[in-house]
Symmetry: C2
Subunit: 268 residues, 2 copies
Amino acid sequence: MQNTDIGDQNEAIKKNLGEINKVVMVISGKGGVGKSTVASNLALALAEKGKKIGLLDIDIHGPNLPKMLGVDKERLQSPGENRIEPVRISENLKLVSMAFLLPEENQAVIWRGPLKMKVIRQFLKDINWGKLDWLIVDSPPGTGDEPLSMAQLVPASSAIIVTTPQEISILDVKKSIDFARKLNLELLGIVENMSGLICPYCGKEIPLFKIGGGEKLAKKMGIPFLGAIPIDPEIVKAADQGILYVENFPDSSATKALKKIADKINNK
Amino acid sequence: MQNTDIGDQNEAIKKNLGEINKVVMVISGKGGVGKSTVASNLALALAEKGKKIGLLDIDIHGPNLPKMLGVDKERLQSPGENRIEPVRISENLKLVSMAFLLPEENQAVIWRGPLKMKVIRQFLKDINWGKLDWLIVDSPPGTGDEPLSMAQLVPASSAIIVTTPQEISILDVKKSIDFARKLNLELLGIVENMSGLICPYCGKEIPLFKIGGGEKLAKKMGIPFLGAIPIDPEIVKAADQGILYVENFPDSSATKALKKIADKINNK
């Protein structure tokens, strides 16, 4: 690919994302902190409030959002040349994921960095998002090719960092903060996920991954703290079964926490 | 770098790893399934049995093993030209991690794929492992640059796949199996981690991430099942404090499970 082509493509990306009010990347230092759960449920909570939301899953090796949102049998449609239509989850929520492009779900995507950059570029250039209040981007963990490509291709992005409270996770969050700052991403704040578990039998709180580490870190690093979400075994089940958690468990503590965080983001 | 150089380097890697009996990569489809916990505690369990063990942390973006093993203030020593000495954890256990090369622990490594390949190549070529029964490699999650580089540079490797029991994780494990098969890695088996949690207050078992998903998958895919490890909040605390779990909690259910798995691997 020639450099001039890349210049043209970057122009095309800018034009294609022109009707999107704000892009936010949901990132984490460590894997398995519930980044996809937080990204998808914040998207649901914002869509419920009447906001137009796009959800882009750039986790190329483990794209789980379609399964979590119950649309893993769908495929992307391409009605016109170079135009790809997102999959619709609800009136206000559209989704695009690498999973929709894979021939079968058990297949590993054994790609090195440059090819990942190319597919993310295409996602940004050719998808017909239309008018959006928020484009929420679910990145793979770490500070590698995918979030780096995204931050470079969409320079005005912002970021939410998800962490669990224990120190091993906090160590990696500091790296995410460093990453966001180096790439000039606006840091909307930190979400502490898996913050305590209520035993379903005796009702006592088990500090499984400790509690409060994310909040403490936010204060120390001078970054807004967006809120703490407790562990709810029902979130795990909902994700496995493709049930929209926020919509189906409106009274749970985790839903209430997620909605408060959505409000804070919406007011940014 | 010229192709002939790379040929020479591959020869040098082969020579340098010549005294290692077996290389095993600990991989996972999803992040946060406890891969580093399993890798480090299996290393401890095998070292306790008198085996000579090397532990190599190729998670370049989130290298956590030094902190988990209480040696995060150590640095690699290079006494001679092109020779790097691993950090010694105990008589039979040596560690090398990307973390030892970082100037300060909060810094993000914002590297694309080709640079990662280069550093992994150097790790394999220049580290003075000496005679080992097992070199255990802790990879970042997914099927990206790091595990791919490793599998290509050390063609006779084997692999252990770590998963949690819930379906979202199992979906990603199938990708890891596909990856291992495509790269001709010998699959030693599947470990089911975070398999149930005993409430520390009422003693009842909470199926937080469900139970049995890893075992079921192993059977279905014709792969050995190595064992299930329950969640123990003490493992989280030990990792945060750099306490060697298997050595310090010899009677816990998780240690017993880990030791059984180590025995199975040792008999392979």
